[in-house]
Amino acid sequence: MTMRMRPETWIRPTPQGLYVEPGDFFIDPVRPAARAVVTHGHADHARPGNESVLATAGTLAIMRARYGAAAGGTLQAIGYGQSVRIGDVTVGFAPAGHVLGSAQIVLEHGGSRVVVSGDYKRRRDPTCPPFEPQSCDVFVTEATFGLPVFVHPVDADEIARLLGSVHRNPERAHLVGVYALGKCQRVIRLLREAGWDAPIFVHGALAELCAVYEQAGVALGPLRAVAGAEPRDLAGAIVLAPPSALADRWSRRLPEPLAVAASGWMRIRQRARQRGVELPLVISDHADWPELLGTFADVDAPEIWVTHGQEDALVHAAGLQGRRARALRLIGRDEDGGP
């Protein structure tokens, strides 16, 4: 019988990121590392300049599209359900349901099992496989929407509200603020599922990642660049752009743009108001409060480590579930959770 090594003796937060000592690698390092294991392609998790990178093929494709040669020295792809040995650690990958390529990292060492979930959500997403719960001793969770006020509604209903507004305002362009990676492609797929067959206009900053999704087999239907489009083509159209473009001079080319934002933050009216959003859509790629707490039960982890977001409430609620919980306070993550 072997002694179980307590996880905090071999995996710990450092200023550079989460460090796994017996394998000498970092998970989602914030500064270039010799060996990086990356959960998913969002910029606050996948950064350029690492000497070697282990990630899913989807994540590596995103990193190559964003960083080119700076994506990393050697890039090693791994599939969901597969694992490799790094030093004295077994490193497995399981779907996280967040964006294309997103993965939970399953670490086994010294008889204990730690799951670093990265960012995740629990509901269906037509652009990536669903989250698969992995039972573990320690579950490392995000807390982007770690407050009970965050309960995301059914996404199809939110898309129906968008289409209702387009129908009522045929002379206006609906400018939807979306993150370039994940939210953009999910909203497009949801629109297609709701029967919107017309070309969808996309801001130049979104085009490249849409192409990555298409290559990965996610069909997005007809997309058109906003640049060069005539104002009369844009009236009654749906235009996707990064959230910053909502308030930008860029939007002036659109006929009577109606500001829409698709984000979990839109649950808070004052947030929507603050950002000048006229039609807030609550669509998120992060777990909401019930999903976070439900996931703790599904993975049945006696111990929860909370990384970035609203840690205090989640630590408290995990405690009410009878789990040991603590905040890791990793630096370099957006409080607003980035994407």
Binding site: L147, P148, V149, I268, R269, Q270, Q274, V277, L279, A313
Partner: protein, 534 residues
């Protein structure tokens, strides 16, 4: 309730005045009676439910929501109604009670019954409905609609002039059946406000550089800007007298020494102040009177009130509001000489003097000397200006004197409310005491650009050293230059001082905290904003 909730939700997100106006007109046109009238009352602060207080809503929330999670959520969301609406556990299918049913029931409810009523409604509403309900019962909708905008929408709906609405407004009662009957073309115009009714006050714009360039000192009447509260005096000629504050509230009962002994019908505009011999005492003294609805004789003797008039709206039956200011001023002086001088009211009412100035240099000199008079600066009123309710452009200006300044150290930060709920934007500042202790001198909000607010917010988050509930304690390293209008003695602050209207003038990223001002420097400014009133 569903339509009302949809209206509020749409209003809060409508980006501009025009869009809000369209929403309101549409609502007044199509919502049923009496719900549209209750919606109008809610939008114009015409509803009051004494049975419900915010504390009761917090207590109610505590019966269904874990207190730690509630506190963290409230801190994050920044709005009580929205926090409770989002957290209230759902119970099933939403069934919206009609707005009028909720208003009627709550208006008759006893305080001890109100929480159970609210809980029953909230169980049957969706989160948008709960939010609207809580906004309704606590008042202060904060959806970016002024009473004036609501009246403009009414006027548009009825095809009448907004001034016609203003003329009858203060004689109307929610849910405004007679008003809507008239606007729908189904009934007569409701009667105009009677002799004692409130007339919309004319307000001034802050003078800016463009105004200065466009304005000649020869075209304006110049008065001191008094540091009291604005009131409208109305007497009906039979001895009944009203004193209306800015929003139309009647406050005459709190100032019995003023409202007795006026015999003739008049509506006049002026400043309510306290002090003996017509010398204005500090605003804090007036505040003591304002806090008491029925003042004791001792309090009246300690802080006697007086009225300093500067305009006349009605003389007898005659409406003077369309006349130019210069003519009204002459009428005011005549009225005063005939009706007040030599009567018992003489010692409690005077006229605000007109000041002589023909150049901007004269005006600047007067403004610099306003502190010695106990004034906040100057009022500039165009001699040809008619008396128009609201804040008409290009007629009256206020030109406040320059504020005082001090460098203070940031001590505590709290998230703002409303639009700023995601930013740390409420700050407590301190100055150094002789013994080296930093003591708070006041709270200031941030009045600068969003970019600087964001930078300050980042600094606060990065430099927090402790937390008490929603309050972050920060490292004592950041100096801000505060602007303020005066320094008063205060038993509420450890420093014994309180700044009047403090605001952040500049963030001194460059200045070491040790070089911030000391308490003695502020001590030296106490009372400097006015002459000794004794």
């Amino acid at each position: 309730m569903k339509r009302f909730a949809q209206l509020l939700d749409a209003l809060i997100l409508a980006p501009a005045r025009g869009a809000k106006l369209r929403l309101l007109v549409d609502h007044f046109r199509s919502a049923p009676d009496p719900d549209r009238g209750w919606a109008l009352a809610a939008l114009t602060d015409g509803l009051d439910f004494p049975a419900v207080k915010p504390a009761a809503i917090r207590d109610l929330a505590a019966t269904r929501i874990d207190p730690v999670l509630f506190a963290l959520s409230y801190d994050y969301v920044g709005d009580l109604a929205e926090t409770v609406a989002l957290l209230w556990p759902p119970t099933g299918i939403a069934v919206h009670a009609p707005l009028h049913e909720i208003v009627d029931t709550l208006a008759r409810a006893r305080r001890q019954d109100a929480p159970a009523l609210l809980a029953g409604w909230m169980d049957r509403l969706d989160s948008d409905g709960r939010w609207a309900l809580l906004k309704l019962v606590t008042g202060g909708l904060r959806v970016g609609v002024s009473a004036r905008l609501a009246k403009t929408a009414l006027a548009e709906h009825g095809g009448v002039d907004v001034s016609a609405i203003e003329e009858i407004w203060h004689g109307l009662e929610p849910p405004y059946a007679a008003l809507f009957g008239w606007l729908d073309g189904q009934g007569p115009m409701p009667p105009k406000t009677g002799a004692l009714g409130f007339r919309p006050m004319m307000l001034a714009h802050a003078l800016d550089d463009a105004d200065r360039a466009a304005l000649s000192p020869r075209d304006v009447a110049v008065e001191w800007k008094w540091d009291g509260i604005r009131v409208q005096l109305a007497c009906d000629g039979t001895g009944a007298v009203r004193l209306h504050a800015r929003g139309g509230d009647e406050i005459g009962g709190a100032f019995p020494e003023i409202v007795t002994g006026l015999e003739h019908r008049v509506v006049a505009d002026g400043e309510l102040l306290v002090g003996t011999g017509f010398r204005p005492a500090p605003f804090a003294d007036l505040q003591q009177r304002l806090n008491r609805k029925a003042p004791s004789r001792a309090l009246i003797a300690r802080h006697p009130a007086f009225l300093r008039l500067y305009d006349i709206l009605f003389d007898g039956e005659e409406d003077l509001r369309a006349l130019p200011f210069a003519t009204r001023r002459a009428r005011l002086e005549t009225w005063f000489a005939q009706r007040v001088a030599g009567t018992p009211a003489d010692g409690r009412i005077d006229l605000s003097p007109r000041l002589d100035a023909t150049t901007w240099e004269d005006l600047a000199r007067l403004r610099d000397g306003s502190a010695a008079i106990g004034a906040e600066g100057l009022m500039l009123k165009r001699l040809d200006s008619a008396y128009v309710g609201g804040r008409p452009k290009g007629s009256w200006y206020k030109w406040k004197r320059d504020p005082m300044h001090a460098d203070a150290v940031l001590m505590y930060a709290q998230r703002g409310h409303g639009k700023r709920s995601s930013f740390y934007s409420d700050f407590t500042f301190g100055c150094w005491r002789e013994d080296g202790e930093l003591v708070p001198v006041g709270k200031a909000y941030f009045g600068f650009t969003d970019a600087e607010l964001a930078r300050l917010d980042r600094w606060v988050r990065a430099n927090a050293v402790d937390r008490f509930g929603p309050v972050l304690v920060v490292a004592r390293e950041l100096v801000c230059e505060l602007a303020f209008d005066g320094v008063q003695r205060s038993s509420r602050h450890k420093s014994g001082l309180a700044l009047r209207f403090p605001r952040i003038a500049r963030i001194r990223w460059d200045k070491p905290a040790a070089e911030a001002d000391r308490i003695d420097a502020l001590e030296g400014l106490v009372g400097r904003d006015r002459a000794d009133p004794r």
